[in-house]
């Protein structure tokens, strides 16, 4: 999310830059387009020509004489001229069109001096006591006839321009903020889903408008991921299913040979090994299947409220009834007046505890004392399974605690492949929002504590 606002801020800067560039471009374009006109206004503006013409006159005894060079100028510009004396009579003229009268009243003068004479734009200048009038060709200039402004108008215009400038900036900023908010509103769910997706969780976003396509692609990606997970879980479950029947046969016959009176002692021993290894495979495929089901959320927890003390007694008794060799002892410690109720998937919790007992038995072939303690304290149930067996070294313990299981790892080193059993225990505990603590020391046994929320009863 932070990177996103940085992204937006970067865009704000670019946005401001673009506005400045546009302003500069506007000025440059204005200069380029109107440069000629402005120049024209400078060199041969009617005002200038009129003033030059006035200076090119010689007046002697009321007779006006224009110098020939200036007449050529007027000719080149296609301009006619005349001088009107104080009485209103034309006393001098040059190329005067026919339709122009030769006498003018004061009101006539007042009228044309502001604008046009017979639709010729005319420019006037005082000369001696008379008036010089230059007529430019029709349609050559526009004269603004009503150019009266109140005195303070230029100031108002200045303030208006400044005001408009800031108003525009404000409007742009509002537009920017609104569009940013709009984009955020649409993009936020997409960003959230993408980050969810990266954690492997399924998403379904309902994006509208321009982002609908992106939303659909993300949904499709999520579907593909889920399908892959489903396919993987189904594959594991299929393989473990197919292994079960042949393994039944191996286990069944090996067990029969183990107990057969017709077989020799050595054969029976070997059959017993086949039996034990088959049981290992049996446990492995069950763990693998369960772990993959939990991993990909394929199996919903069948939660119920049950008594952990009852469950522990049942597990211990099953273990003993199934022939726990004498070199192992299994001891339960709990307050028998309590029920230790919790809410969870009974079968999975059973599996987790069984796996811990299995580990103690399997890693201590020479026997050990296994102690299971059940404690309920401040709303939590703690199940501690300890043995006084061989334990593991600090290094190996770190390995167990910190390296991902090979099911979750891309690496392919042997070190990663620690037991499936403990991995499943961890998965089960986490799926119950519980806690798992593992400790061990070389030669000083192995201890696992599982902590779950107790159910108030």
């Amino acid at each position: 999310m932070r990177s996103f606002s940085r992204f937006i801020k970067k865009h704000l800067l670019i946005f401001i830059g673009i506005i400045l560039a546009i302003l500069i471009l506007d000025v440059v374009l204005f200069v380029l387009v109107f440069q000629g006109t402005v120049y024209n206004l400078g060199s041969s503006s009617p005002g200038k020509v009129t003033a030059e013409t006035v200076n090119a006159f010689t007046i002697q005894d009321g007779v006006y004489e224009l110098r020939a060079e200036q007449e050529n100028v007027l000719h080149d510009l296609n301009v006619w001229g005349m001088v009107i004396d104080a009485g209103g009579s034309v006393v001098w003229s040059y190329a005067l069109p026919e339709e122009i009268p030769l006498t003018f009243s004061i009101s006539d003068v007042s009228e044309f001096s502001r604008g046009y004479l017979k639709s010729y734009p005319v420019f006037t200048e005082k000369i001696d006591n008379s008036l010089l009038v230059l007529g430019y060709p029709q349609d050559s200039y526009i004269k603004i006839t009503s150019n009266t402004l109140p005195y303070n108008t230029p100031f108002t215009v200045m303030w208006y321009c400044i005001g408009i400038f800031f108003l525009d900036i404000l409007l742009l900023f509002i537009a920017y903020t609104v569009s940013k908010r709009q984009i955020s509103k649409n993009i936020d769910p997409i960003i959230n889903s993408v980050s969810k997706l990266s954690k492997g969780q399924p998403v379904n976003i309902q994006a509208k408008g321009d982002l609908e396509e992106i939303g659909d692609s993300i949904n499709a990606t999520s579907d593909i991921l889920i399908n892959k997970d489903t396919a993987r879980a189904n594959w594991i479950s299929g393989v473990s299913h197919d292994i079960r029947t042949p393994l039944s046969m191996i286990l069944g016959y090996a067990d029969r040979i183990t107990h057969s009176s017709e077989a020799t002692g050595q054969i029976r021993e070997q059959a017993d090994i086949i039996c034990k290894q088959s049981v290992k495979i049996k446990g492995l495929i069950e763990d693998l299947n369960l772990a993959s089901q939990l991993e990909y959320d394929m199996q919903p927890l069948n939660k119920e409220t049950f008594s952990v003390s009852k469950l522990l007694r049942k597990i211990a008794v099953d273990y003993m009834n199934n022939g726990l060799p004498d070199r192992y002892t299994l001891n339960l410690e709990m307050d028998t007046t309590r029920q230790y109720m919790m809410n969870g998937d009974r079968a999975l919790i059973k599996r987790a505890i069984e796996n811990l007992l299995h580990n103690s038995v399997n890693h201590n072939p020479d026997g050990c004392n296994i102690n299971t303690t059940l404690v309920q304290k401040s709303g939590r149930i703690s199940i501690v399974v300890t043995d006084d067996g061989v334990g593991v070294s600090q290094e190996k313990l770190n390995n167990i605690l910190n390296t991902p299981h090979y099911m979750n790892s891309k690496k392919n080193t042997k070190e990663l492949q620690h037991g499936m059993g403990l991995h499943l225990v961890r998965k089960i505990v986490l799926s119950h929002e519980g806690e798992i603590k593992i400790s061990s020391e070389n030669g000083k046994g192995f201890c696992v504590e599982l902590i779950f929320m107790a159910e108030n009863n």
Partner: protein, 246 residues
């Protein structure tokens, strides 16, 4: 037939159960062959088998078995359907023996009124013990007398005969002793015994259970303070030791 006599096999102390007809349904002939020999070794003699849904229905109708062991995946249907079909006509116990191990399948099976569910691969011993337990539970009216070292228990009359004296059993003592007997040679948890005596989800009956156990011992044990038949497994439960039984 078979490889030999199993050391661990349950000694035939209830002959009538061995006469029960077992229907085996599995599409894998090798499994049928193996399970048949396991059951034969254990003394079961009446075993009928079928390899498909259709065949199973046919065998079921012609042979009237007493217990069915069904596979779930059959070439022409599934075991759950088969169980439903059987249930329409018979209340005989049904055990699923299947390679499908997912919890949901288990629930499907048990919801259909199956009595047990065994996931492959399984120990022959496990299958035999479960069939025994279920047969004993379902056909218990046929087992009236239990011979213990030092006394005889007649469950049908709810009495103990010890040294020519007759001690009547109360209903609770009867239930407790019967539960122990059905699991003879195996530890039964305190919880299971309380359930047998006081019904579902009992709690806080541990002391009452101890009192009942003491009274049962007074009736069945030659020396109640040194029990030889009804043993305590500390913190877990009790075990009934039946002669000739492990």
């Amino acid at each position: 037939m078979g490889i030999g006599i199993n050391k661990y096999r349950t000694v035939i102390d209830m002959d009538y159960l061995k006469e029960k007809k077992i229907l085996l349904v599995d599409d894998e002939p090798e499994i049928i062959k193996m399970v048949t020999s396991i059951l034969n070794d254990d003394g079961f003699v009446n075993i009928v088998a079928a390899k498909s849904y259709e065949e199973a229905i046919q065998v079921f109708e012609t042979t009237q078995p007493d217990i069915a062991v069904l596979d779930v995946m059959l070439p022409d249907g599934d075991g759950f359907q088969l169980a439903g079909k059987i249930r329409e006509k018979s209340d005989m116990p049904i055990i699923f023996l299947t390679a499908k191990g997912e919890a949901e399948d288990k629930f499907d099976g048990l919801r259909l009124g199956a009595d047990d569910y065994i996931v492959k691969p399984f120990f022959p011993q496990e299958l035999v013990l479960r069939i025994h337990a279920i047969l004993k539970r379902c056909y218990k009216e046929e087992n009236p007398v239990l011979q213990l070292s030092g006394c005889t228990v007649d469950f049908s009359k709810a009495e103990v005969i010890k040294e020519n004296d007759i001690y009547p059993l109360t209903a609770k003592e009867h239930n407790i002793l019967e539960t122990l007997y059905r699991n003879a040679g195996r530890i039964v948890t305190i919880d299971a015994l309380c359930e047998a005596a006081w019904g579902d989800n009992p709690f806080g009956y541990e002391n009452s259970l101890m009192a009942h156990i003491r009274r049962i011992r007074e009736k069945i044990e030659p020396n109640p303070s040194k029990p030889v038949s009804l043993l305590t497994v500390k913190g877990l439960g009790y075990k009934l030791v039946v002669p000739n039984k492990r």
